[in-house]
Structures are given as structure tokens and as C-alpha cells.
Symmetry: C2
Subunit: 157 residues, 2 copies
């Protein structure tokens, strides 16, 4: 299904929730109730996101989490990378070796191209945009139609 894992799905939701109020510090429990995701799972996700440098944590009483950067400066690609590792559709497109066919594999180069396109798609959307669905709806309307993706008026900085 070319799916990304459910954890990653939850993770982006979590990040979107954090992006909705970037200043405030919330603990894992609060975030769990806000996102309707179970508390242990939220905790696990937050750990990974902290390790990935996308979320800052403050420990101790009244501690909690908040985004490490402004929502405009965090892309969906980064979230995916933090939770799933490098973005690579096929094995060979990442480690570049060991599949045995390698030299005879005509498809390899093209997978790279496809892979890059996917990566760019994910890098093209920031958390700020994820948190502002209405605005993005407009984008989608105009973008999905024949004039493909080239004119996405996406924000950045």
C-alpha cells in the first residue's frame, strides 16, 4: 500500500498539535488526550521526536514538550525521517549495494529519481501548513487540477 506506519501517522498528528501552539509546554498526558492517542504511545513518539531534534523536552515537575523550531521550519519529511529513518522506497536506493543484481539492475537509477520526487513532496509541506488546513485546501484545489504541482504556492519562511 506504500504506506507509512501508523506510528508515523500519529507522529505527524502529534507534531501538528504541537505546532498549533508552539510556545506552550505540554506534557505527554495532555498531548495524549488532545490527540486521542494512547498515552504510552504518545510518550514513545515524543522520545523519538526529541532524539530527532524536532521537539524539546524539559524534565521534572511541570516539564513537558514543545517544538524545537518554528512550525514553518519543520517539514513533514523530517518527521518521517525521525520516526522511520531515511526515506527510501527501495532498499537499493539507500545503501546502494548487496542486492546481488545491482550492476544488471536497470531499474536502480530510476528508483533514485522516483525516490527524490517523493522526498521532495514530503519536504514541500511544513508543520505550519499542516496546522492550517483551510489554507492548504485552497492550495489543493488549484494544484491538483491539470496544472500539476509546479505552482504550489507553498509558504516557506
Amino acid at each position: 500500500m506504500l504506506k507509512l506506519s501508523k506510528l508515523t501517522d500519529y507522529g505527524t498528528l502529534l507534531m501538528t498539535t504541537l505546532a498549533a501552539a508552539p510556545e506552550s509546554v505540554r506534557n505527554a498526558q495532555e498531548l495524549a488526550t488532545e490527540t486521542h492517542v494512547s498515552a504510552p504511545t504518545v510518550a514513545k513518539l515524543l522520545k523519538l521526536l526529541v532524539r530527532g531534534g524536532l521537539v524539546e523536552s524539559t524534565r521534572g515537575a511541570h516539564g513537558g514538550y514543545r517544538l524545537a523550531r518554528a512550525p514553518e521550519k519543520i517539514t513533514v519529511a523530517e518527521v518521517v525521517r525521525a520516526l522511520e529513518g531515511p526515506i527510501a522506497l527501495t532498499a537499493c536506493s539507500v545503501h546502494g549495494g548487496g542486492c546481488g543484481i545491482e550492476e544488471s539492475c536497470a531499474a536502480r537509477v530510476n528508483w533514485r529519481v522516483i525516490n527524490d520526487a517523493v522526498k521532495q513532496a514530503l519536504e514541500g509541506v511544513t508543520l505550519a501548513e499542516m496546522a492550517a488546513p483551510l489554507r492548504s485546501l485552497l492550495r489543493t484545489r488549484t494544484a491538483i487540477q491539470p496544472p500539476p504541482l509546479n505552482e504550489f504556492p507553498l509558504t516557506r519562511f
Copy 2:
């Protein structure tokens, strides 16, 4: 890792091999040795590809497989769909319901956008191009490359 399954990887290799000689009919065993993929797995893949309408089979003695259409008219996206089902990064972007948060899920709309971008990336490469790696590299660069993405100060808020 945002990976597609190994089966799909093999499947595209298989299709690429078929595309290299679209006219000739080869049986599962021959294709297995050509692709260096195990025979039972090749057989399984071919079944799915036949069901997906991408490959034609002729039964009986001297039977075998060949592409149902010209390589130029089969995209990687179709291969992925035949082997993995609909292209959907997140569950909600395909069935549109049942996740419980739905209405409150700000991220949903944007996943659609991302999803479409990925889909277009996969639809932008045909089997003919996969079988001729160098040429396609040039073509896809201009064809896919969706998101330059940064040109609207309007969406700042």
C-alpha cells in the same frame, strides 16, 4: 522507512525485464532466472500482475507471459497499485473514515496533498523509461520535479 515491500521491488524488476522485450513470451521459470528472483516468487508476482491487467498470460504448453500493453503505456504507479493496492501514505487518505479523530484531524487534508504528489511521482515514470535508465533520468527531471514550492508570502500568518 517509507518503504514499499520487497515484493513490489521485485515486481518492478520483473516488469522492467518484460519491458525489455515486450513481444516475446516467456514463462515463469525463464523470467526467474533472468531476474535472479526465486521461481515461486516470480510466479506469485505474475499472478498479481495478470490480475491487475498489466501482464497477459497464455496457458498450456509453451505458454508464458508478456506485457499487456506497450511499455510506454504502463507506469510504475500501476505496478505498485497492482502489487500493494491503492497508493495511500496514511490510512485516512484512502478510506476517509473510521479513525475516530477525523473531524478534529487537521492533518488530513494535507496528507491528501502529499499523497497526490507521491502518486504523481510514481505515475511520471513508465516501464519504457525504467528499461532505459539514462534517457529517463533527463526526462523525469523535468516531468516530475513538482515542488519548487516557495513563492507565496501571502500564506504567512
